[in-house]
Symmetry: C2
Subunit: 508 residues, 2 copies
């Protein structure tokens, strides 16, 4: 009984967090503009009550009773992991003082506004004082959390538990060493044709095609919906209600096409969690600081990347579905065949903007930002020197000159809102996606034939079995170890990119 | 300081209630069907936390301190009224035992399902046992709340404080005595032409026209939005976010036309509340049992009825706006002029269904239901005798034969969900609307000229001044007394209907 009572208490915490997420979804999709301020208060109240409930004596009492009653279960049983996740979250919340949390919230409002203005006017120097405060606060958060080697490790633990400056240095070193020669080889080749991607693609038809593919992948619309936002995202309020958004560019088809299927990958993760974990600490729908401790942001990103890149950008996918895309856009694609379309949506084209980057160059944007964060937190890089550092890296990695800070260091919102430590998740997602996908097709002989004929169930079942169903029960590396026999390993990713671009650009 | 601390605590309660309303709006407009059950849990958690917070020792402490610090203010000052509203809500919650509340929630689920089935199959006898339980529980609620004369008075106090069996008997007597002869006189006249209302009216154009009129009335879309639902409603999450919904019938124009402007009336009330009352006990956005004690459901309905009937069904409105309706539906309305349209949307046509009733016969549907509720609670009417009683009243009041219970006693969802005591609000809304509107045009000489030329600001300012801005500070009769010099008075309503239908049907 006592474990059930503990879960009941955590169900209240989950309801509060999911309600806050619901209010946040509405704020980004439906809410009239004039309600911004009061909505912020409502969300803050729900988050405060979630925190108060989590840290209450009642929770502690039930937690201790649950711990006693589950002591004979395996360490990695769902019960004991739910308990240890909760203990971890409580400890973390207790380590970060209320006033520090309040300072962060207060700073976020003003620094984001300063960033919006500074970006519009291309005046980095106006944003710099705010960024200095953001960095100083992040350092204090790191000190509160604690770390062994590097303060940045503490911030990483909030998003990608287990990852450190040392492990990332090693990962990035290996990626640079293999991807830079590959990129140079691609750049030496003539560009593939892609002009037709910029024709006029009416939004409704884009939506219909994207949604049809999302459903083919297994996205269940009885428990989901697709909306339109400037910044696409996936969000869930339990596995029973998992929503995605996308952005339609009428004159650039890939934006919504791959955006929708990227978010579908996230959504399949949420919809695939064991129903028994709903409203428990093992559910994956715990926003904010409650998300740490279990599975990582990188693990979540691995699912979106897997569906976006390994499936939706594959030759098999377009060989099969291109006729139906042509049916949706008959005049726009009249002069393009499946092979040309597949090449176009996989073209490599180094650019200044992260969110527009192709699969080959995306990680360079990430490594640049992660290393800057690391050095800012370490104090070996000063905010004022950021543009210089940024521009030098863009030149050395991608060979690009950055004409102004709007297209450079001011392009992302993350730092202005106090998010430091979370860029690396994207690259870890790429690496993990390749590692899982390789093992998947090697392990289950029905997966690749399924993909070839448009039956996505075998892949989905494999991912549900190995990743989705577990929710936050296992860590990222535990999942990888069980599924692939190895912890995070960049070799399958390097292998995948090398093979892909060697074929596409007919490299030696 | 202590009053501010009390308000801070009540702000948390308001945030929880508004969040619950937000989740409820989403459930009725956007939510995927598969999320029904878990959404119910989330809303229940928020409502429970609101109640727990309201009844907490902390609230009591702050309430007592606030009371001490405001003792020298006037009894009807905002501060003292906020305090007394809170005391009333606390007392009420304490009087209704938890287990009774839980029994009601549990019964609601099963009885609503039984009603849906019984209605579909036209088997009142299958619903009767559930209705008996609903009535028995309502009696227990009435006993818990307490009353002086009649148990039904206790239930009325939840929705229309101050109203009693005695006062309603008197009101209904006066309405019947004057409206039945008027109705008979109308029925003796030939019907006006209205066939053109059933032509094909595309939804988008209906929406555009309705929204344009709503904005003309003063509905502020920076703090609102209009959506489409089967059952139209208005809901707010503070005055900064006041949403309405409507229902489009492609082959019956009045449904969305007047539905939208009805909900607009509700929305103007919410948007007009003093901003200083936001997140306080004087805000009007407190759903469920927190809504009692201040202004009444009838007062809210008076604003929707005023805009729907006194404005949007008026001759002045159609003389002015009919050309723009014709511009929206040129072929559909080619052979109809403004006068004919005005007559058609005001035609009297006794029917079996309350929600389709015209302005003249609507109150008969309400009086019938209210009197049945009263007698059920008193025990002078048994559930099994309900159809007979219903059908006899439809015959004597409206001269109609009820062919089956689907079109009779089974038509409304209210009783199946345990709502008893709330039908009378509609008629009180009608009465109050006429009383306020009469005084408005008599008091402010700029109102009628404004209405004639499409300037709705003078009316809105008058209603804001006399009603909206006060939120829940004054009772319905206090508002009426200040505005009109009288408490609720049916004479202006009778006068209005008599004048209107005498003209429309050219009665003697």
């Amino acid at each position: 009984m006592s474990y059930a009572q503990f879960l009941e208490q955590m169900g209240t915490v989950n309801d509060l967090l999911c309600s806050a997420s619901m209010l946040s979804w509405d704020a980004r999709t439906m809410m009239p503009a004039g309600a911004v301020e009061v909505r912020g208060q409502q969300i803050a109240t729900l988050m405060t009550l979630a925190r108060t409930t989590l840290l209450s004596d009642e929770t502690l009492r039930r937690l201790e009773a649950a711990e006693r009653s589950t002591r004979d279960l395996a360490e990695d049983s769902a019960e004991r992991r739910a308990i240890s996740q909760t203990q971890y979250a409580i400890a973390l919340h207790k380590r970060i003082p209320d006033e520090l949390q309040e300072e962060r919230v207060a700073l976020r409002e003003v620094s984001r506004a300063a960033w919006v203005k500074a970006r519009a006017e291309d005046r980095f120097e106006d944003f710099a004082p705010y960024l200095e405060k953001v960095v100083a606060l992040a350092r204090r958060v790191a000190e509160s959390i604690g770390y062994e080697q590097h303060p940045y490790d503490a911030l990483l633990s909030l998003f990608e538990p287990g990852e450190t400056v040392v492990s990332l240095d090693k990962l990035f070193g290996r990626l640079r060493e293999s991807l830079i020669p590959l990129l140079r080889a691609v750049q030496a080749k003539p560009q593939v044709r892609w002009d037709f991607l910029e024709r006029d693609f009416p939004e409704d038809a884009q939506r219909d095609f994207g949604l049809k593919m999302a459903e083919a992948f297994g996205y269940d619309l009885r428990h989901g919906r697709l909306d339109n936002t400037v910044h696409p995202f996936e969000i869930s309020f339990t596995r029973e209600d998992v929503r995605i958004t996308t952005r339609y560019k009428r004159n650039y088809l890939p934006a919504s096409l791959f955006g929708t299927l990227h978010e579908t990958g996230h959504a399949l993760y949420e919809q695939g969690v064991d129903p028994a974990y709903t409203r428990t600490p093992l559910a994956t729908d715990m926003p904010g600081m409650y998300a740490v401790g279990g599975v990582s942001f990188g693990a979540h990103e691995s699912q979106s990347r897997l569906y976006e890149n390994h499936i939706a950008r594959s030759k098999a996918f377009w060989d099969l579905h291109y006729p139906s895309l042509v049916a949706a856009f008959p005049s726009q694609l009249a002069d393009v065949d499946a092979a040309a379309f597949h090449r176009a949506v996989n073209r490599v084209q180094p650019g200044l903007i992260r969110v527009e980057a192709d699969e080959m160059t995306y990680d360079f944007h990430i490594m640049l930002r992660t290393e800057i964060e690391r050095d800012l937190i370490a104090g070996t890089l000063e905010v004022k020197d950021l543009p210089e550092r940024w521009n030098a890296a863009m030149k050395s990695d991608l060979g690009l000159d950055v004409p102004n800070n709007r297209l450079g260091v001011l392009q992302d919102t993350h730092w202005s809102t106090g998010q430091i430590g979370t860029f690396c998740n994207y690259t870890i997602g790429n690496v993990m996606a390749a590692q899982l996908f390789k093992t998947a097709v090697e392990t289950d002989a029905s997966i690749q034939p399924g993909l070839d004929e448009g039956n996505y169930a075998p892949l989905r079942h494999y991912l549900r079995e190995t990743v989705h169903q577990h929710g936050r029960r296992f860590s990222r590396d535990e999942l990888l170890l069980k599924a692939t026999g190895r912890t995070l390993d960049p070799e399958p990713y390097i292998e995948y990119l090398t093979k892909k671009y060697t074929e596409l650009y007919e490299l030696g």
